[in-house]
């Protein structure tokens, strides 16, 4: 085991450096890499300069073979980054795609809208206890909710409900496929989830109706078309 040639030692180290920096989500220091390498191989820990040299070699190979990324030296450590000139691709991917997840705020507003629809903005704000202007705007923009009518109450506020795109996003065929109150309780099994509170919140026909196996399709018609 000890007659490892310099060649394979360097090859090993190169592989280790590349893999460790690749998988990290923050800059990794040379000392860190050296220690891990020594731990795993049982060989001597490489000097920081050796690691530095290896990183240079890796970057040269990337440049020579036209790779899209380099190992950068940031915040006292090493970190992978794609070339700045390729930023337009990154932006294009992000703009069209799906890297984006719904934020907590949006997910919470959406959950209320899904279970309480059709519902007004003030109703939504009452349940959440916060201003929902932003959330409503974003959800409308994403096409996950839509205006489905007006309430008969004072001021005739707009009522919102979820769209077909909402169903598509969650992989469901119909609103009725959403877990009902009893099922939500069973899925979460959280003592903090108050049945009474939930019942109060879910005032629309949907949840209570399909809990009695009456599938609340009228709610669905109102909202999805």
């Amino acid at each position: 085991m000890t007659n490892r040639t310099d060649e394979t030692y360097r090859e090993q180290l190169e592989k280790a450096v590349e893999a460790i920096v690749f998988a990290a989500d923050e800059p990794v220091t040379a000392a860190h890499i050296a220690r891990a390498f020594a731990d795993v191989t049982g060989s001597e820990a490489p000097a920081p300069d050796d690691v530095e040299g290896i990183v240079d070699e890796i970057n040269e190979l990337y440049a020579r073979t036209g790779r899209s990324f380099r190992i950068e030296r940031w915040a006292g450590g090493y970190r992978f980054a794609t070339l700045a000139e390729l930023a337009p691709y990154m932006e294009a991917v992000h703009a069209t795609d799906g890297q984006r997840r719904l934020t907590r705020t949006l997910m919470e507003a959406l959950a209320i809208l899904a279970y309480r629809q059709p519902t007004s903005r003030s109703d939504l704000e009452f349940v959440r206890g916060v201003d929902c202007d932003y959330a409503l705007r974003k959800l409308l923009e994403y096409g996950l909710i839509d205006v489905v009518g007006r309430a008969d109450t004072v001021g005739r506020p707009l009522l919102y409900g979820t769209t077909d795109k909402f169903l598509e996003l969650f992989g469901l065929a119909a609103l009725d496929d959403l877990p009902n109150l009893r099922e939500v309780e069973s899925i979460l099994d959280d003592p903090a989830f108050h049945r009474e509170k939930a019942r109060l919140m879910m005032t629309s026909g949907l949840t209570l109706a399909n809990e009695q196996h009456d599938h609340g399709t009228q709610t669905q018609d109102e909202t999805s078309e």
Binding site: A19, W74, A87, G129, V130, D131, L178, I187, D190, A198
Partner: protein, 244 residues
Amino acid sequence: MYKVQLQQFEGPLDLLLFFIRRDELDVHDIPISQIADEFLAYVQFMEEVDLDGVGDFLYMAALLIGIKTRMLLPTSEVDEDGEPIDPRQELVERLLEYIRFKEASDHLTARYEERIRQFTRGEAAAAVAPVAEPGSELVEATVFDLVSALRRVLTMVPAVDDHEVESEAYTIEEQQDFLEATLRSEGRHSFVDIMRGRSKPFIITAFLAVLEMARRGELDIFIEGGHDDFYLTLLPKDETAHDE
């Protein structure tokens, strides 16, 4: 006879399978009488240790005893073709199905073990553009995410009655004005201090306002180790212009 740590078994079918493997029994011709007795002995042991899930085992024990009894009786049940029905048939079919999935589970486990030896990238590379304006497609949202959000709503909202909520509906914009005024007059300030004695809706909207203002580069947030608190400083308006 030896006893078994029953938690090793994924249920009554798993325990039956254990007997079959141990004694190299023919699955299609299980000696029910012997197995039923042994099974019962284990279940009694289980009850002693008060293991959760003993009910599933009790049910199986009852099933086995039922089959044992039917096998002792001379009555011959027949299927639609007039062939005699083996009382064990249904159990055997379940067991066979279970055996298939048990094997599939082992294969999946091996696959998983191999796969998790591969590491994917950490966070997306820093060269990735800052979050662009939202596009039209959204992925990666599960029904479970939605239901979890519902839980958060229902468990976090302070239990207040209608009137309190009505009178405490703050907007983020109002809170921004409030924070700006406070920080302008008092300079660097602890968030906890500013919020002392305030209601939950007030604090929540104020916190959202802080995030919004930080995002717009209107204030700096300092977090100091070991405290559940942070400090805010208002940034001069002109300075923020270069930052963005």
